[in-house]
């Protein structure tokens, strides 16, 4: 029943006191350990095995040098990176500038996740064993910073022998990385990592990861995860667990980042995306009315039981608070109020002319919208029902429907949908990623990752480019450009911010303590989600302490 190749015959227990059990990321049997297959690699592949040049810690907004020792813009088109010395791959080879150059150049393979990097990157060359110089045709500071901490470096000496296909989609069954853990075993329902004692950071930075083993448990469902958490089988879980508020309050030994509402850090924004190519959603007034109609309190309190918070009118995450132009918000934000919604509708000429209780377009066409949410995503389904109810309360007919996920993707990408809820962009080092998500042009036949609403606004898109060109440290400048984008967003409302999805995390102190918490000094993101180890979660592991032995 198992595929435990590479367990070296050491079949047996993982001592409980030395093992960290995690869950919440892996939704199917681990099948690939390829860090370039960004949506599918086994939990921990990037972070535990493969590492990035920097980490970005959103709580503090700090870039933490990791495989790189430092990096700086020499001029407006040159970036120079100093690599850490004495780092070795787990097979004993040295980590060098060639590995970095090789990894960056993988972007030139058609289909690579960071192919667009090469649209403005001209070259990457190893100056010496530990220095890499990048030459840009255009300085996209934001994107570059993002690239630096997000993408894992792979060993050239192994990967250079692989075909392009293998590189992009191969399973990479024996991952060789620089990180603190190595592959130990996997089965249908778990992935096991084992600590590497030779990890460079121990010596270089004094970091030591606490658990000898990490067993990441494959999710079958949120409720199964809840059961495992309650039974103490899982130390940290990153699922959305219904009823977690009760657990935290009720002495079940379950803890979250905040001891009270909203319990969780914010991880991303859930947006209501109207299809702006369709009537009447092509009308900003209508979109604003729709936004105003939504009863967010109901969603926050009743659907989520206080586990989420209503999003800022700009939709930007709390971590980006400093980039929000409060004056713009005050002036342009539409309040969430059914009466306001009704007023906007009336003013814009939406009236119930045929007396069926719902408004028609100014041309008198009936409005009948469908809001889609993937079947089985229970919290969203419930929220969709609330949105439908509150829209109908102001006279906009919205029906919630729950197609299978694939069907939804199909409708969403091809632009067939009316309304859809989406939260694809995660927290990052720059609000640029959000505005890229909202305004990206040109609109393609298939919108696979961004601008699902197919909103076209050249000015806004230009501003997004401008934002990218602002050095990330220059908060003032960023805020200025971002403020303009916020105004457009609030006036046009191409996507409607709903709530901040939590960085779902529930931890148990039975075996490991000193979890990230607002109450302590450990403020790293408590997450195993793909892409989050780079956001500092890896450091959380170094802060963990074994629970004191109970008498």
């Amino acid at each position: 029943a198992s595929d435990t190749e590479g367990d070296g015959g050491a079949a047996g227990d993982y001592p409980r006191a030395e093992t960290l059990y995690t869950g919440g990321t892996q939704w199917g049997p681990p099948s690939t350990w390829n860090p370039l297959d960004t949506g599918n690699y086994a939990t921990g592949t990037v972070g535990l095995v493969y590492e990035t040049l920097f980490l970005f810690e959103p709580q503090s907004g700090e870039y933490i040098p990791w495989l790189a020792e430092s990096g700086e813009w020499v001029d407006d088109s040159t970036y120079e990176l100093k690599l850490r010395q004495g780092v070795q791959w787990s097979d004993g080879e040295d980590f060098t500038a060639d590995d970095v150059v090789f990894t960056v150049e993988l972007g030139q393979i058609e289909g690579s996740t960071y192919g667009n990097l090469w649209e403005w990157l001209e070259s990457a060359e190893a100056v010496d064993d530990h220095t890499v110089r990048f030459t840009f045709s255009q300085a996209n500071y934001a994107q570059w910073a993002n690239w630096l901490y997000f993408n894992a470096i792979v060993p050239e000496h192994i990967w250079s022998e692989r075909s392009d296909e293998e590189i992009l989609t191969g399973a990479n069954e024996e991952p060789v990385g620089t990180g603190p853990y190595a592959y130990e075993a996997h089965d249908q329902d778990r992935q096991v990592w084992k600590k590497r004692d030779e990890w460079w950071a121990t010596e270089a930075l004094g970091h030591e990861v606490a658990p000898t083993y990490i067993v990441d448990v494959v999710n079958t469902s949120n409720e199964a995860a809840l059961g495992q958490v309650l039974q103490g089988n899982i130390d940290m879980n990153n699922n959305f667990l219904p009823g977690v508020a009760q657990l935290v309050q009720g002495g079940y030994g379950v803890e979250t980042y905040y001891p009270e509402e909203p319990y969780m850090l914010a991880a991303n924004t859930a947006w209501l995306v109207p299809n702006t190519t369709k009537e009447p959603m092509d009308d900003p007034e209508f979109r604003k009315a729709l936004s105003a109609s939504i009863d967010m309190d109901e969603i926050v309190t009743n659907v989520y039981g206080g586990l989420v918070t209503e999003a800022n009118p700009t939709g930007l995450l709390p971590a980006w608070e400093e980039y929000i132009d409060t004056e713009v918000v005050e002036e342009y934000a539409t309040p969430r109020d059914p009466d306001v919604a009704k007023d906007i509708l009336e003013e814009a000429g939406y009236e119930d002319t045929n007396n069926d209780g719902f408004v028609e377009t100014p041309d008198g066409d009936p409005i009948d919208l469908t809001l889609i949410v993937p079947s089985g995503w229970t919290d969203w389904m419930e929220s969709a029902r609330v949105i439908s109810e509150s829209a109908e309360a102001v006279g906009i007919k919205v029906t919630a429907e729950f197609p299978e996920f694939n069907d939804l993707v199909d409708q969403r990408n091809s632009g067939e949908f009316d309304l859809v809820i989406n939260n694809e962009r995660q927290i990052s080092n720059t609000p640029w990623t959000y505005y890229d998500y909202i305004f990206r042009l040109p609109v393609q036949e298939q919108q696979t990752t961004v601008n699902f609403g197919r909103y076209e606004n050249e000015d806004a898109w230009e501003l997004v480019g401008e934002l990218d060109g602002v050095p990330v440290e220059d908060v003032e400048a960023v805020r200025e450009v971002a403020g303009e984008l916020q105004q457009i967003h609030l006036e046009e409302m191409p996507v409607i911010p709903l709530w901040y999805n939590g960085l779902w995390s529930q931890t148990s102190n039975t075996v490991w303590t000193n979890w990230p918490s607002s109450e302590t000094d450990n403020n790293y993101l408590p997450s195993t989600w793909r892409g989050y180890f780079q956001l500092g979660s890896i450091l959380m592991l170094t802060e963990l302490e074994p629970a004191p032995e109970e008498e």
């Binding site: 099948s31 949506g39 690579s112 996740t113 667009n116 989609t169 694939n406 069907d407 990752t449």
Partner: protein, 331 residues
């Protein structure tokens, strides 16, 4: 005899063909695109990259060919024993995924089907013994058959698993273990197996008990029973005969019920997050993983067919009536 089995096999082949075709067709005719969804998960920032990868996968899975061609390819590779590669779990071969799940499903199904069959029949025969027993066992049997598989599973998971904490309520073996031939592992395996097994066993049990009870009442009223009674044969002997004869239709009943039990097992596996085919199928459906779905379904169909065939053979072996008829004996 040969003719009889020839015909049976023909029906089986036909069933196999129909089932597999249905299963091949339905997901493909439905909206949604598994590759798009796979790519959507990867959050590619680059539209060009998405397109290239999309083409690559489409070509690799052969989804860019016309449907009839895909269908042909499917049979060709099926006959070569190649079930393809899972889309959802790329690049794991479907066979590997299924082989990981099948032992668990079989481990649940075989004992629960066989045990419930034997115990159920025994109970049923017992029930037909007196009015008192009939009035207690029978209603219990009905409650059990009427119980939705997953509900019983839920009740057991909740009461014995969560509240009483006697058995683990999910998973197939302890998280701290690796499969091995050690007592710790096997006992953990059994612990995890017990509740799903019990729920399947109980639901099926009721059906068999009732079936047996009804059959045996008919048998006890039959003319040979009457004759034996008139000759003063003890009840013991008559019951034995009746039991044996009533058992035979129950064998065919087993064939009829197989599909249901397998389906019940899927539900049970889902409730207990058991690592069997149920979970795989559900995931395959949700991710529109054509290949995995085909594979898992194929496995079920083949399993059911083989089981049916075995039952057919057994039936012919144990029931002289059928055997004689087939040999064209005296009518």
């Amino acid at each position: 005899m040969r003719k009889y089995f020839g015909r049976k096999i023909f029906v089986y082949v036909l069933t196999f063909f129909a089932a597999v075709t249905i299963n091949w067709m339905i997901p493909r005719l439905m909206p949604g695109d598994p590759i798009q969804s796979r790519l959507a998960r990867a959050s590619l920032t680059d539209a060009g990259a998405a397109e290239a990868l999309y083409e690559y996968f489409n070509n690799m899975f052969g989804l860019d060919q016309p449907l009839w061609q895909q269908y042909l390819n499917f049979w060709v590779s099926l006959l070569q024993g190649d079930l393809g590669i899972s889309i959802w779990n790329f690049p794991t071969p479907v066979t590997e995924l299924i082989m990981g799940a099948v032992p668990y499903s079989l481990g649940l199904l075989l004992p629960s089907i066989l045990l419930s069959w034997f115990v159920g029949n025994w109970f049923g025969a017992y029930a037909a013994r007196s009015k008192w027993l009939d009035n207690t066992i029978l209603p219990l049997g009905y409650v059990l058959t009427a119980t939705p598989y997953m509900w019983l599973a839920l009740l057991l998971a909740w009461s014995l698993g969560i509240v009483a904490d006697l058995f683990p309520a999910s998973g197939s073996y302890g998280l701290s273990l690796q499969p091995a031939f050690t007592w710790t592992f096997i006992s953990s395996l059994l612990e995890h197996w017990f509740l799903p097994f019990l729920s399947l066993f109980l639901v099926a049990l009721g059906g068999w008990a009732i079936g047996m009870r009804n059959m045996i009442i008919y048998e006890l009223e039959s003319e040979y029973s009457n004759y034996l009674q008139a000759l003063g044969a003890p009840r013991r002997l008559i019951r034995r005969y009746a039991f044996r004869n009533a058992m035979l239709p129950q064998i065919t009943g087993l064939a009829v019920q197989l599909g249901t039990v397998v389906a019940g097992a899927l539900l049970t596996e889902i409730v207990f997050s058991y690592q069997g085919l149920g979970y795989l199928i559900l995931q395959a459906i949700q991710n529109q993983d054509f290949f995995l779905l085909q594979g898992a379904f194929l496995f079920i169909v083949i399993g059911v067919l083989i089981a049916n065939f075995i039952i057919d053979v057994v039936y012919v072996m144990v029931d002289p009536r059928v055997r004689v008829q087939m040999q064209g004996g005296a009518k």
